[in-house]
């Protein structure tokens, strides 16, 4: 954990005082709805379908058990005793009362937390790889760089009223587990030929109604220029990004309308004034930030453990879980563990207050009192001794968090959808549940192998459907809920050679009840076409294209034409 110094703490406390005053003036009728809206959104407060929704920042997804216990307390005292972990590595509660929100923020501030810039046309919480600091393919510890960006982007006086929201992602390892290509700015740490650290900078990626893969504006930005270069990008965007149409206001539209090369020239012209200026980072600052992070005090351990080996050889359920939910660690004798929040029958990402406290107890006992939230809406214990894995598995199984489905079809990314969200066109949680029920055979799931299924209830794409290997989008047709299916999306270069891509719509949309059948047809098509089980669903789509999958769902071109003729004739 990064530990605040006095200044970090004071700024968060001053923010609470500011919001308390703003809420008071709003409730006293001294601030209009419109004006208060812009202010409350900057503190993560939406007015939702049934009640306000408060989005609490979990900077770069890293959380201490003290903070998790505070969440549990807040959901119990001010809400309905549960919270929802989102794809932005944040926590959302759905039923707070407006006059109490300043008190919630004050409670959060006591554990160095806040809801700053979790919504509105502002610089949002930076996200990163949930295996930062423990991955064996790590180039830099991305938490350190995320904290530098967090500080620089918090209350930036010039960029507090951007044309639209702005999302930053940072990946510190060789594998991209942060989906950097679909963010307004994505940073991927790289080492050049001289061994120096820098960042590949992507700009203008994003999902939503105009999905786009980010453009590489710089192949190698030396680390010391990170802030001045970001400042140049943000200034060009703040001055020239469109403000006349909310749907064209993201930086991706500016990049597209200018043309990537022209946009790069403009950024470079601006950067010429800022480069090597006072915001240029220095090694002492990197060291200072590093030193404010608490670090696990690892033991010197053998690479494996006899008890673990025995359990793994004899207990098939444990071995299944280990295969999917346990991940390698750079330190011998340790492993990272994913607690799956995707048990069938529970909305993906939802956790009750009691569960939060149990998880906190377990993280204290097994993982140095820290945990992470992944953008796939699961929780990670990053530093578990291999010798403890079997005991930990027993405990989390009892809590329902040991579903061995990480990377598999039922590990569905899903937004809150029409059950909660006022923007949604359709429900998403029941769709996830129906798919999970259809694919409840674990052997079959393992045979299908790695696949990302992502569901969004509307084109705002909070469920990242464009980058699901199978993406499902809720659409509204004359007041009815329908679902469009895309295939071939990929969140990023998780595996070498397979970069980020956007899914393609396979054809006309479906009623909710039809979705499990459609998914099953797509999966059958994949299984008959794959070249051995090392070839994943996404690899097959990239190899043979969308057409065979389309045929498996809608029939071949002749059959589709005959069907359309039939429809016209009966119309």
């Amino acid at each position: 954990m990064y530990l605040y110094d006095e200044i970090d703490q004071k700024l968060v406390d001053e923010r609470v005082a500011q919001f308390r005053d703003q809420t008071r003036r709003f409730l006293a009728g001294k601030l209009s709805e419109d004006e208060f809206r812009a202010l409350r959104l900057r503190n993560g407060l939406y007015i939702q379908r049934y009640a306000p929704m408060l989005r609490i920042a979990i900077p770069y997804g890293l959380l201490s058990t003290k903070q998790l216990r505070k969440f549990a307390h807040i959901t119990r005292r001010y809400d309905r005793g549960y919270g929802h972990f989102s794809t932005r590595q944040n926590l959302q509660i759905n039923w707070p009362k407006l006059p109490q929100v300043p008190d919630i923020l004050a409670e959060l501030a006591t554990v160095q937390m806040h809801a700053i810039q979790t919504s509105g046309n502002s610089f949002r919480n930076i996200t990163t790889d949930h295996f930062a600091g423990v991955a064996s393919d790590e180039i830099v510890d991305s938490f350190v760089w995320c904290e530098i960006i967090r500080q620089w982007s918090t209350f930036h006086p010039e960029f507090s009223y951007l044309p639209r929201k702005f999302k930053f992602a940072m990946n510190g390892s060789r594998s991209d587990r942060a989906a950097v290509a679909v963010h307004d700015i994505g940073l991927h740490a790289v080492r050049n030929a001289n061994g120096e650290v820098g960042f590949k900078v992507l700009v203008g990626g994003g999902l939503g109604r105009t999905p786009m893969i980010g453009f590489v504006i710089r192949e190698f930005l030396p680390w010391r220029h990170l802030l001045t270069y970001s400042e140049a990008i943000l200034r060009v965007y703040n001055r020239y990004g469109r403000r006349d149409n909310i749907h064209k206001a993201r930086i991706k539209i500016l990049v597209k309308e200018r043309g990537p090369e022209k946009f790069r020239e403009e950024v470079d012209a601006e950067w010429a004034h800022l480069k090597d200026g006072p915001s240029t980072l220095v090694p002492e600052e990197i060291a200072r930030i590093e030193s404010r992070f608490t670090r696990p005090s690892y033991l010197q351990l053998p690479a494996t453990d006899a008890g673990f080996e025995t359990a793994h050889a004899t207990d098939r359920a444990f071995a299944n879980w280990h295969k999917r939910n346990v991940h390698p660690h750079k330190k011998a004798g340790y492993a990272a563990v994913t607690l799956s929040l995707k048990q069938t029958g529970v909305p993906p990402g939802d956790v009750t207050a009691d569960q939060m406290e149990r998880i906190a107890d377990l993280a204290d006992r097994y993982s140095f009192g820290e945990l992470r939230v992944s953008h796939e809406q699961n929780l990670i214990f990053a530093d578990v001794q291999i010798a403890d894995l079997h005991a930990l598995w027993g405990e989390i199984r009892a809590l329902g968090f040991a579903t061995p489905n990480i990377g598999l079809l039922t590990n569905i990314i899903c937004c809150p959808g029409g059950d909660f969200c006022s923007l949604a066109n359709a429900k998403s949680i029941p769709v996830a549940e129906a798919i999970q029920q259809r694919f409840d055979d674990l052997d079959y799931l393992h045979d299908i192998g790695e696949i990302d299924v992502n569901i969004s209830g509307c084109m705002n794409a909070c469920g990242h459907h464009h980058v699901g290997h199978i993406g499902i989008l809720g659409v509204d047709k004359n007041g009815e809920e329908w679902y469009q299916i895309e295939i071939g999306g990929n969140q990023g270069e998780v595996r070498p050679g397979v970069g980020a891509s956007l899914g393609k719509v396979i054809g006309p949309s479906f009623a909710r009840a039809e979705i499990p059948d459609v998914i099953e047809k797509l999966i059958e098509c994949y299984l008959t076409r794959r070249d051995g089980d090392a070839e994943r669903f996404i690899d097959v789509v990239h190899r043979i294209g969308v057409e065979p999958f389309k045929e498996s769902v809608y029939g071949n071109a002749d059959q589709r034409a005959a069907h359309r003729r039939g429809q016209l004739a009966s119309a």
Binding site: D5, I7, K10, L11, E14, R15, Q18, Q22, K30, E35, A38, L39, N121, Q151, W152, T154, F155, H156, P157, E158, F159, S160, Y161, L162, P163, L227, R235, N238, R239, R243, H273, G277, P278, S279, L281, V282, E284, E285, R288
Partner: protein, 172 residues
């Protein structure tokens, strides 16, 4: 006109904002006194204004930049930047550029949809005068100039970022 806040207090205003009429007709220029001239009018009638007996200010809209007046800046005792809507943040960049890149030292005035809750960031970006929207409580707004006691970034008021000041303090 709303109340003027200048140098951290409520102040009297000697400046007259020249604005076009409802049909776009050019404003009437008074015989004397301090006037703020819209950029387009300044560019159109620069020579005439250079002979004007009173002090001159220029008025930039959010879509206009300091680039257009860079060489004339020493002639202006005041630059006003208009915020067409409080959520339109372009004026913050314009202010920083005027102060930090073009070295403008005169009065920098925020006009338009200027509200209580935006004063702090405006001040950090280099504004030192604020004409509040008419419905604003000027006395209450004074306290909003200094909502936050520190800031991480460089700004017109804090040319050295917090991390460098932290490091310097650590060395002392």
């Amino acid at each position: 006109m709303g109340t003027l806040i200048k140098e951290q207090r409520i102040a009297a205003d000697s400046w007259r904002l020249l604005s076009r009429g409802p049909g776009g007709e050019p404003p009437e220029v008074p015989a004397q006194g301090d006037v703020i001239v819209p950029l387009a009018l300044w560019l159109e009638r620069r020579d005439a204004f250079l002979a004007y007996p009173g002090r001159l200010g220029v008025w930039l809209d959010a879509n206009e930049g300091p680039e257009a007046i860079a060489s004339d800046l020493p002639r202006f005792a005041l630059v006003a930047v208009n915020f067409p809507k409080f959520g339109d943040g372009r004026g913050y960049s314009i202010a920083r550029l005027l102060r930090e890149r073009y070295g403008y030292r005169g009065e920098l005035r925020a006009i338009g949809d200027v509200l209580h809750d935006h004063l702090h960031f405006m001040k950090q970006c280099g504004f030192d005068a604020f004409v509040l929207r008419e419905d604003q409580d000027a006395q209450a707004a004074l306290s909003a100039l200094d909502t936050f006691s520190e800031g991480y970034q460089t700004s017109a008021l804090r040319p050295v970022p917090l991390f460098r000041r932290r490091l310097a303090a650590g060395k002392r």
